[in-house]
């Protein structure tokens, strides 16, 4: 049964999102203990010590989670996400509302984890530079529907853009990538438009 399979893999996945918090009144150690138990970690104390060292939590591990700075909370969130050494990691806008320095640190941590463990990371993000940096394959969605897919470089090249952010804007404004046959002329067409340009004006532009 699918539901049984889902339950079996849940202990081997984890999730992080700035829109979901850990209980603020619990200390960092208490929160990690609860989640380590929920994920069935064999040696809870050892795992928390490992995470405290790895993510530099030791100075505030016995403080209330609600009293931490944004950067410290981010590290605690990561500790919870890595508590079971997940083979699949689901990330929902993991760097939203972080300062550029912390956001860079977080992205690097995910990249290192992926390189070290071979874990699969499913990242939902509107930050296209983050996606370019972390993703091997990108699925572009518009209004809940998949509208394009490919490696970041492949998408950028197909849309004739210089980065994924411009591809995102093209897709958001319903400017589709050309098919392989049309590619030559349409890429030329797309290159005429600037990302800030209004959609209607784009549509009315002479071809």
């Amino acid at each position: 049964m699918i539901s049984n399979a889902t339950n079996k893999v849940l202990a081997r996945m984890n999730f992080e999102s700035p829109y979901v918090d850990l209980p603020k009144r619990l200390t960092v150690r208490e929160n990690l203990t609860v989640y380590a138990e929920l994920y069935g970690i064999v040696d809870v104390k050892l795992r928390i010590e490992e995470l405290a060292t790895e993510l530099d939590l030791k100075d505030f591990i016995d403080r209330g989670t609600g009293t931490l700075s944004a950067g410290q909370k981010t590290r605690v969130g990561l500790a919870k996400a890595f508590v079971n050494k997940p083979e699949v990691l689901l990330l929902d806008e993991p760097t939203a509302s972080l300062d550029p320095d912390t956001a860079d640190w977080v992205r690097q941590h995910f990249a290192d984890y992926k390189a070290k463990t071979g874990a699969a990371i499913l990242l939902a993000s509107h930050n296209m530079s983050e996606v370019e940096r972390l993703a091997d394959n990108v699925v572009m969605m518009n209004k809940g529907r998949i509208v394009d897919e490919g490696a970041p470089d492949d998408l950028i090249s197909r849309y004739g853009r210089i980065n994924l952010e411009e591809v995102f804007i093209d897709i958001a404004r319903n400017r589709r990538a050309p098919s392989r046959e049309e590619e030559g002329s349409a890429v030329e067409e797309l290159l005429k438009f600037e990302p800030g340009q209004d959609t209607d004006k784009i549509d009315e532009s002479p071809s």
Partner: protein, 278 residues
């Protein structure tokens, strides 16, 4: 579907885990331990209630031969009503703690099963009820010379019956909160009181209009409180009322679980689960 081998760092998955229930109970104990207002609020109202009703009972005993002969009938009712109210509140508030702290999303993607989550809430409801009612029961004994223990083993049956009904209501309230958001929190406080007039807590079901008696007997509460009066006034155990209360509870707890799962599925399909919060 084939799944790669289980890594060494995590225990083999089991369909029902006491460890996961324990983790959730531990989470709520950590929370209560960290907040003295939460601790005080648990026994504050039951203590006040028993003091007020205890003095009312003293006054009535001095002026009424019925209450002189049936001392304890009011205090017993107050204590048992509190068991159910605190039981329901303990269940609902523990659940609401997850919404208030915006932690529900983390729990729902963890290996915690819904059945384990519900059982953890039931354990916490029982613990919170004990913390609430034991001081009140001690006061009833020390000041008003009423021992709830004197009800004998039937007390355990009453407690189980009342807690079970409290959980059934708690499940419905939690389900409504999943589906309709935090505004359903008001129901946690209000829903049970809507049943109080027909629960026959302080007066017998026979006092109610004929058409309401049937409605009252459709609730386990009326059977418990009729049973309580039978023990205190007549010294008799009404097995028929006990049987009805347990039978009805089986129906209500099943309805509670079904309602909770129904609202959970609806909330999940509508993508509302991660949006719950303050």
């Amino acid at each position: 579907m084939s799944i790669p081998n289980q890594p060494d760092n995590i225990r083999p998955d089991v369909a029902f885990s006491v460890r996961r229930i324990g983790a959730m109970v531990r989470r709520y104990i950590y929370l209560i331990r960290s907040s003295w207002p939460r601790i005080v609020s648990m026994f504050y109202w039951p203590t006040l209630q028993i003091l007020i009703w205890g003095f009312i009972q003293m006054y009535l005993i001095e002026n009424s031969s019925f209450f002189a002969a049936a001392a304890g009938v009011l205090l017993g009712a107050v204590l048992l009503w509190d068991v159910m109210f605190r039981g329901q509140l303990g269940f609902s508030l523990s659940f609401f703690e997850e919404i208030w702290s915006r932690n529900l999303g983390h729990l729902l993607v963890s290996p915690l099963r819904m059945s384990e989550f519900i059982l953890a809430l039931m354990v916490m409801s029982s613990l919170r009820t004990l913390i609430a009612v034991i001081p009140a029961a001690i006061i009833a004994y020390l000041i008003f010379d009423f021992s709830i223990i004197s009800l004998g083993f039937v007390l355990a049956a009453f407690l189980i019956s009342l807690l079970t009904f409290g959980w059934a209501i708690g499940l419905i309230v939690a389900g409504l909160a999943l589906r309709y958001g935090q505004s359903a929190e008001e129901l946690a406080w209000a829903l049970l009181f809507a049943l109080a007039p027909i629960a026959a807590i302080y007066y017998p079901v026979a006092i109610l209009p004929d058409w309401l008696e049937g409605v009252a007997y459709a609730l386990p509460l009326a059977h418990v409180f009729e049973g309580l009066r039978a023990v205190i006034i007549d010294g008799a155990i009404r097995w028929d009322h006990l049987a009805w209360s347990f039978g009805l509870n089986a129906v209500y707890i099943s309805l509670g679980v079904a309602a909770f799962l129904f609202f959970y599925e609806q909330a999940r399909e509508r993508g509302m689960l991660l949006q719950l919060g303050e």
